[in-house]
């Protein structure tokens, strides 16, 4: 009985037993490397499915989302949580969300902000040939926050919703900016507390959001392919 208890203790607390006890219990050997590897492999589908359909952690490289992501030229990139469940469960993507999507031209993932959804009319920025564009059904218009260093819808036009992979929900790495991503709002001013740099950056983010929204007008005269009876 004592040998049993000692055996159990050794399994839970990772102790090594003296040889005299070890001989009492037949299955005392620690699981071998091979067995452990097999266990990891066996449970891998569950873990992979979780990252595919619920949440995943990724590093954001590049300067196109400045100043929201990677605001300074530090060597370490932002680490963020992407929410795939929102996209897969079919909840509509809204204006102002930051999404990761597959680049429609090159084979890579990009992180951009949704400017307009289907049915909106957007005033485009220089590289785009037309001055105004109607975002077609099932498409969105994405742009980077930094207009000079980004390859976005102004280059390749509206993107299909099917290319959207995940929605950015939480910043975890630079510890001073840790927290969920909130829609920009006017920062509160309280008596006695001086306006610091954070207050000013929040106000600047709100101003940028208002500027972005000013370029989008709603228009619902869309061609609906399904209603015309074609499949």
């Amino acid at each position: 009985m004592i040998a049993r208890l000692r055996y159990h203790f050794s399994r839970t607390h990772r102790l090594t037993l003296p040889r005299s006890y070890a001989s009492d219990v037949p299955s005392l050997k620690r699981p071998s490397m091979l067995k452990r590897a097999f266990h990891v492999l066996y449970w891998l589908p569950l873990a992979t499915a979780f990252t595919h359909y619920f949440y995943t952690i990724k590093t954001v490289r590049g300067r196109s989302m400045q100043p929201t992501l990677n605001p300074d030229t530090s060597a370490l990139d932002d680490i963020v949580v992407f929410d795939r469940f929102t996209v897969i469960s079919g909840r509509p993507i809204e204006k102002g969300d930051i999404v990761s999507l597959r680049d429609p031209i090159h084979d890579k993932m990009i992180v951009k902000r949704v400017i307009a959804i289907s049915g909106d009319v957007v005033k485009t920025l220089p590289p785009y040939p037309a001055a105004e564009v109607l975002v077609p059904e099932g498409h969105i218009w994405v742009e980077g926050d930094e207009p000079f260093r980004t390859l976005d819808s102004n280059k390749f036009g509206p993107v299909p919703l099917a290319l959207v992979d995940a929605k950015l929900s939480y910043i975890i790495w630079p510890l001073d900016r840790i927290g969920p991503l909130r829609p920009p709002a006017i920062p509160v001013t309280t008596m006695g507390i001086p306006r610091n740099s954070q207050w000013h950056s929040e106000l600047a983010a709100f101003e940028r959001a208002r500027k972005r929204q000013a370029r989008v007008t709603k228009n619902q005269n869309l061609v609906n392919y399904e209603e015309r009876g074609a499949v």
């Binding site: 992979t48 499915a49 499949v231």
Partner: protein, 155 residues
Amino acid sequence: MFRNSALKKLGLGCLHAVNLACFLHLFKENVGSPCLTYGPSMLPTFESTGEVAIESIISHRLAPQSLARGELISLKSPINPNRIICKRVIGLPGDTICVDPTGLKASTTEHVSIPKGHIWIAGDNTSCSTDSRDYGPVSVALIRGRIVARVRCFR
């Protein structure tokens, strides 16, 4: 030692079942599986009442460059993200394509050049298909896999 060992066994069994389901689903989404096709858009090739085809996803993942004109592909619909459609590849990046040779949706003289990273797709049944003639060239990133075989049903 454990009083509720039956409950524990049940929970572990459920976890194993979920794990197996995850494995099968990931296999279907990343390697390939039989799938059901229906709709009149691919009519001479696939029956409109429903037919089973083998979709190979891994062949596109491993060799995306080997896509050729005339191949059947499955892709996410550019107008409805929840829908998977099956079409034939007509043009590759850099090609100049006549938008609609039948003249149903555009005049037969209208031509378009396909941009980089895009392809031109069309259904086999031109009179009843929503394809690149409606929404233009589609991005290569929308492609899921290739349709490599059809399961013949004896009726």
